[in-house]
Structures are given as C-alpha cells and as structure tokens.
C-alpha cells in the first residue's frame, strides 16, 4: 500500500504495517472531531513517525497513485478541516 504524507512524499507499506496504523487513525479522527489541536498534533506526529519508520520511501521518479493521503505533520485543525471540506475546484491543477 502506498501512503502519501502531504508535503513530504510517499511511502510504501506492507499490509501488516498498515493494519498497525488503525489505532493512530482513530486517535487523529477523535482529535479532529473534538477540535483538540494538541491531541491532533500528538496523534499526527505518532502516526507519521510510524509510517516513516515502517515504510520505505517511494523514489521521486516513480509515478504512483497513493491509497491513503495524510495531512502534514504540522497541520492545524483548520488545515485538516479544510482538506476534508475542500471544494472541488483548484486543488488539483491540470
């Protein structure tokens, strides 16, 4: 599975490694719905660190679609909410 961390790049993860991420996913989702910035930052950092350590970076010259796209490590609540509510215009050029 290929995971993209916005502003960082892509990582290739084994299915097993992906399953290990579920707990982190829940933590991030809770933080977003509770609008808790500190919790979001902590949960995101833990999640992204896990991906960086368990995954292997996808080389720059490979053109691969990601299965999952994760917000950048220093994303604010507003950033994540904006990502989720992003209008269909403008984000993807071309």
């Amino acid at each position: 599975m290929i995971v993209r961390i916005l502003n960082e790049g892509q990582w290739r993860l084994t299915d097993e490694a992906v399953r290990g991420l579920n707990a982190f996913d829940d933590a991030v989702e809770k933080a977003v719905s509770a609008a808790d910035q500190d919790q979001l930052t902590r949960a995101l950092h833990a999640l992204l660190e896990r991906i960086r350590t368990t995954g292997t970076p996808v080389p720059d010259e490979e053109l691969e679609d990601s299965d999952l796209i994760l917000p950048a490590a220093d994303s604010t609540l507003a950033d994540v909410q904006q990502l989720l509510s992003e209008s269909e215009e403008g984000l993807i050029p071309g």
Binding site: R4, L6, N7, E8, G9, V18, R19, L21, N22, D25, D26, V28, E29, V32, P59, D60, E61, E62, L63, E64, D65, S66, D67, L68, I69, L70, P71, V80, L83, L84, E86, E88, G90, L91, I92, P93, G94
Partner: protein, 291 residues
C-alpha cells in the same frame, strides 16, 4: 485503515477523475498537462525564492535589532560609569523589549527555514515526477493502441496530479506564511525607521543618547577645565619650561627677582608664545609645498 485519511485520498482522486473526464482525447492533452506541470514547477521555484527572500529580510532585521540591543548595552554601561543608574535601567529595559522582538524573529526565521526546505524538497520531487511523466508521455504516444493508452494515461495522470495537488497545497501554505511574515516584517521595518523601537515610551527620540551626550559633554568640559587648572598650577615647573629654557638663563642671573612677580610676568608669556609659534609655522610649510 479508514476514516479521515481515506476521505482525504478520495477527495484527491475525485479531482483527478474530474480532470481526466474533461479530456476528450487524452493523448492530445498529454502535452497540455505536461505544460501545466512545467508551470507548476516554475511556481514552486518562485515559491522557494520568495521564502528565501523573506528569510533574508528577517535575518537583516535581526541584525539591526542586535545592533540596537548592543547600543543600549553600551549606553547602560556608560550611564553606570557616570553613576546614572536610572538611565542604565531605562536602557536595559528597552533592550529587553528588543530581545522580545528578536526571539519572535528567531521563531519566524526557523519557520521560514523549515518552509524553504520543504518547498525545495517538493520542487525536487516534482521535477523528478515531471521528468518521469515526460518519458511516459512519449512512450504512450509512440507505442500503444488507443485502449491501452487510456489506461496508461490514467495511471500517469493520477500519479502526477496527486503530486501536483500536494505541491499546490505546499505553495499555497508557503504563500500564506510569507504573506504573514511580510506584514510583520513591514511593521518592524517601520519601527526601525521611525526610531520608535529605541524609544518604546514614545516621549522623545532616543533620549538616553541625548542625556548621555549631555552628561558626556558636561564632563568633557569639567575635565578640560580641570586639565587647564592643573596646567596652570603646575605652570612654574612644567609648561613654561620649554619656553623659558633659553630665556631664563640669560634673564635670571642678573635680576634675582622675587618669585611672586615672576609668576605674573610668565603668565602672559605663556599665552603669547603659542600664537607667535603658530604664526611662524604656517608660512614656512606652504612655501615648501608650493615651490
């Protein structure tokens, strides 16, 4: 793994699909997309340059603030030397205000540096992907049937457009950040220009310097007076000696005059002597220089 990340990737994919749906003949629009990629690449590079400019501006301002802080430290030192603790305190208070500004600037500097590194990295990544896309584009155009081309085009497009979406977000973010920084930097520039940073109280322009200068000139006057008085009182022994060196031997032996009258007589001599020397000297030099 489900939840918000799937939603985020679905949003990205929806945009790609939408972009692809718009294309009536994907093969012909490969070149058009490539053009867009090059434009985006240019935009990222400009973004890197903009962030670097903002970073340098902050460095410049930090230097200026540092100079101001050093100046205030020196002022405090001088004020203490002449026993004006109140002035020293004022100078140090202002310096601590500057240091607050400085540490703010350092935080901003670190943020901009981080942003610059990320954008630089994004620019490298996009460059590599654009190169890969160009290769694929040529292969697709040359080799495959229309049906095969469609699949390959979709693959190439989704890979590149995800990257473009990511980079697009990064640029937007960097632009927002630099805009904020520039607003702040502009405010600090104005402060520095108006001299208000030197005088947070707004009462007068750098009154510490004024007062120190006043004190310094007063003490200069006092010092000068003291020096002159010392010269005068040391007169019989020290200063006049040079002038009297030749005169005294010839005058003293015959008269044997009492000391008090001599003092009166010497004072005028002492004051007259320098002008007469300085009048003689100038003519001598120009003559030598001119001829």
């Amino acid at each position: 793994m489900s939840g918000i990340f799937q939603r985020i990737s679905l949003i990205f994919r929806a945009k790609t699909d939408k972009a692809l749906d718009k294309l009536e003949d994907p093969r012909q629009t490969l070149d058009y997309s490539y053009q867009r990629q090059l434009e985006l690449l240019q935009k990222v590079r400009r973004g890197v340059a903009d962030v670097a400019t903002s970073r340098k501006r902050i460095e410049l301002q930090a230097n200026q603030l540092n100079t101001q802080a050093d100046k205030l430290t020196n002022q405090a030192q001088k004020a203490l030397e002449i026993g004006r603790e109140d002035l020293a305190r004022e100078a140090l208070t202002r310096r601590s205000g500057l240091q607050q500004q400085l540490s703010d600037l350092q935080v901003q500097h670190a943020q901009l540096q981080g942003e610059e590194e990320k954008l630089t990295r994004a620019s490298q990544r996009l460059q590599a992907k654009v190169d890969a896309f160009r290769t694929k584009k040529e292969t697709i155009k040359a080799t495959y049937s229309a049906a095969e081309a469609q699949t390959r085009i979709n693959e190439a497009f989704s890979g590149i457009s995800e990257e473009m979406g990511d980079v697009g977000l990064a640029i937007q973010r960097a632009e927002d950040k630099t805009a904020q920084m520039q607003a702040r930097a502009g405010a600090i520039d104005e402060l520095l220009a108006s001299g208000a940073l030197e005088d947070p109280t707004g009462i007068a322009k750098d009154d510490i310097t004024l007062e120190l200068e006043q004190l310094a000139s007063t003490s200069d006057v006092e010092n000068e007076l003291a020096r002159m008085k010392a010269e005068l009182s040391a007169g019989p022994g020290a200063a006049p000696q040079a002038i009297e060196g030749q005169q005294v031997p010839s005058q003293q032996p015959p008269t044997q005059a009492p000391p008090p009258p001599r003092l009166d007589a010497q004072s005028p001599q002492e004051y007259q002597a320098p002008p007469s020397q300085s009048q003689e000297a100038p003519p001598a030099q120009p003559q030598g220089d001119l001829r």
